[in-house]
């Protein structure tokens, strides 16, 4: 039951970390840049929801495109870049060997971000596909597929070339998205864009892709980090570790099916929605096991990185539970098509994913560059800002969705009236968006300073014991 992933005698900063420095810094730097850009776009979209006249002057800034752009910047810019960085680092570390194909990964990372930039320009120009989570224009998607695969090669090589045959839960979760994403991305490209399937099968495929991206790509990236950080930082074991494998395979086998819950009552075969509901409920097993496994992370005891992780983990389990409840038809009748479903998505993306990954970045970046974070105050500001931002944003949207769901089910309530009823809560969500952006700026500032300041002491002395690693020692 007690499992510690690495040998305690291993030096804290090693050749393994420095071997991965170039591709990882490209990935992390781009991720943080996209987090800030996406935050600005999300703020604009959030204001437009309650003040439709805001920046309504030109087609590029209209809400429909802004929303698609902010979602794309978050998912493909922040989430995938940061997730890949964390995944490669964990696989190299736990593999016990320097990262191979690091040059290829760097090239892949550069092309990924160039293509994404082009894609965002395309979205603003009106080339969005219209499918949620899959808005990138068709002309950048194949480049992004190849670029992702190039980065993933390094991770897979780190897995196959590992020194220890036995693998830890972190490695399963870290390697799975390297394999899942290219597959679902290419299938979606072919069946939605290049040789589109007919009629509402497109909606089924889009829901399947979105579900896979969230549950089988982004969530595993984040969980990989937590399974590693918890024992590493706190010294506490992963509780009931024997069940971790069951939780992993439950997610992998069942996770992809749950997309059908978005299509309840829609013009698709009823079995698609029904299997989606069953899958969402069965996934509760995964969330419970992960929650129990990692419950040691819920009381961080002074570790700044673990404070992020703890919030992320709570959001993850809560989000899974809410998804299961709202997939039931009697509840979906009210929550469907409202801000309630937006809040659910944000709880899992801005809450669970971002908090868990940021916790990992605070731990790994100092090891990557051999220097401690220049300011622990900025880390504390980041934490306070994004936590209060999350509560305001997700809380505001949940209440707005609740009101909207009630109003929609009274045929006499007109749409301008509904807009007036939810306005105050959408303004609260905008305030949350402002705080989130401030937090992201604190991270960006800290990261930029970390890159430019010079290390004053030999790095190795700074990096033990583990508790001192994610905050500056001075």
């Amino acid at each position: 039951m007690t499992t510690t992933p690495t040998n305690a005698a291993q030096p804290e900063v090693s050749d393994i970390d420095t071997s991965a420095r170039c591709p990882l810094l490209i990935l992390i730097g781009s991720a943080i840049m996209w987090l800030v850009v996406g935050g600005v776009l999300a703020l604009i979209a959030s204001i437009q929801l309650h003040t439709p006249g805001f920046l309504a002057c030109c087609p590029s800034l209209t809400y429909g495109r802004m929303e698609a752009a902010q979602e794309t910047a978050f998912l493909y810019g922040w989430a995938i870049n940061a997730g890949l960085a964390v995944s490669l680092w964990l696989l190299a570390r736990l593999g016990g060997a320097p990262l191979r194909a690091a040059g290829l990964a760097s090239v892949g990372a550069i092309f990924w971000n160039l293509a994404l930039t082009l894609g965002l320009v395309g979205i603003f120009a009106g080339d969005l596909t219209g499918f949620a989570f899959f808005q990138l224009p068709a002309y950048v998607q194949p480049i992004m597929f190849v670029a992702y695969a190039a980065v993933a090669v390094a991770g897979v090589l780190a897995w196959t070339g590992r020194r220890n045959a036995f693998t830890f839960a972190t490695q399963w979760y870290a390697v799975a998205p390297l394999f899942v994403f290219p597959w679902v991305f290419s299938v979606a490209q072919v069946t939605l864009l290049f040789a589109p399937v007919h009629g509402t099968i497109q909606a089924v495929v889009a829901a399947w892709f979105g579900q896979n991206l969230g549950a089988l790509v982004l969530a595993p990236f984040a969980l990989a980090a937590v399974y590693y950080l918890l024992p590493k930082i706190s010294g506490r074991p992963v509780r009931y570790y024997d069940y971790a494998g069951h939780a992993f395979w439950t997610l992998l086998v069942i996770g992809g099916w749950a997309g059908g819950r978005q299509l309840i009552g829609g013009p698709v075969p009823v079995w698609v929605a029904t299997t989606g509901i069953i899958a969402s409920v069965l996934l509760l097993f995964h969330y419970v096991v992960v929650g129990v496994n990692l419950s040691g992370a819920l009381c961080p005891r002074g570790s700044l990185a673990l404070r992020f992780t703890a919030i992320g983990l709570k959001a993850y389990v809560l989000g899974g539970a809410i998804n299961a409840v709202t997939s039931i038809r009697a509840v979906a009748k009210f929550s469907q098509f409202t801000f309630f479903s937006v809040a659910q998505t944000q709880l899992l993306l801005d809450g669970a994913f971002t908090f868990m990954i940021v916790g990992a970045l605070y731990f790994l970046v100092p090891r990557l560059v051999g220097k401690p974070w220049p300011s622990s105050a900025l880390i504390r500001i980041h934490f306070a800002a994004i936590l209060s931002g999350l509560v305001l944003k997700v809380g505001g949207l949940f209440v707005a969705g609740w009101i909207q769901g009630g109003d929609l089910n009274h045929a006499a309530v007109s749409f301008p009236t509904i807009a007036g009823d939810v306005r105050m809560w959408l303004i609260a969500a905008t305030a949350g968006q402002v705080l989130t952006l401030l937090g992201s700026l604190a991270l960006a500032l800290n990261f930029a300073r970390l890159l430019v300041v010079r290390a004053e002491q030999p790095a190795a002395e700074l990096f033990r014991p583990p508790a001192a690693m994610e905050v500056p020692v001075s």
Partner: protein
């Protein structure tokens, strides 16, 4: 877990399972669904959109209208779609067979548009009024003034142009995109009855090939 091949085989199988069901099986089930040939009406339904309306669908897509509007009516006992007048029957897969890009939508910040054209006709809403609505916006809907060009009236007024209160010398001429979008919206109608949309009691003859 020690065996890499076994691990990757597991990943492969796990993904193949949901892919087979949700992508391949749905395609096999109704990928070749065709319009319904109605003998009494002497035509096949749904009918393919005409040129301008078809281009309007692209405007609908590129402005991201689907971020706030759905195009799927739920059945009468599931939500209040029917009471809102969005459609007398549930949307079915056959309604979408002509669409190159199916945008069902996930949020109802604005009303459902499945039967918008039929609704507009019933309420006497014409293209000129809809253009004015697009230009001004209402409630949570922004004003799409960029779909119009303000110009000096020279000679006769343009036929579709909107007047500007207070400045009689100028007129707002809808761009081609605005006209396409309006044509598309007014063409939206999915109220034809198919075997699969009829109530079991109403359908006298057993509906073949439907569930």
């Amino acid at each position: 877990m020690k065996s890499s091949p076994l691990f990757f085989l597991g990943l492969f199988a796990a993904l193949a399972l949901s892919l087979t069901a949700l992508v391949l099986a749905t395609n096999a089930q109704y990928g070749s669904l065709a319009p319904f040939a109605d003998v009494t009406a002497g035509a096949a339904f749904p009918q393919a959109p005409l040129g301008l309306a078809a281009r309007g669908h692209m405007v609908y897509q590129d402005l991201g209208c689907a971020a706030c509007h759905t195009q799927q009516v739920r059945r009468a006992d599931f939500g209040h779609d029917k009471e809102r007048g969005w459609g007398d029957r549930q949307s079915v897969a056959r309604d979408y067979v002509h669409e190159d890009r199916v945008l069902l939508g996930e949020l109802r910040i604005g009303p459902d548009l499945t039967n918008f054209g039929a609704r507009a006709a019933a309420h006497g809403l014409n293209a000129a009024q809809l253009l004015a609505f697009l230009h001004n916006g209402q409630g949570a809907m922004p004003a799409y003034s960029f779909l119009f060009v303000k110009q000096l009236v020279t000679g006769q007024r343009s036929p579709e142009a909107l007047t500007i209160p207070g400045s009689p010398d100028y007129e707002l001429v809808p761009t081609h995109r605005a006209e396409a979008l309006v044509a598309y919206l007014l063409s939206l109608s999915a109220d034809h009855q198919y075997p699969e949309t009829m109530q079991p009691a109403a359908a006298a003859a057993p509906a073949k090939g439907t569930k």
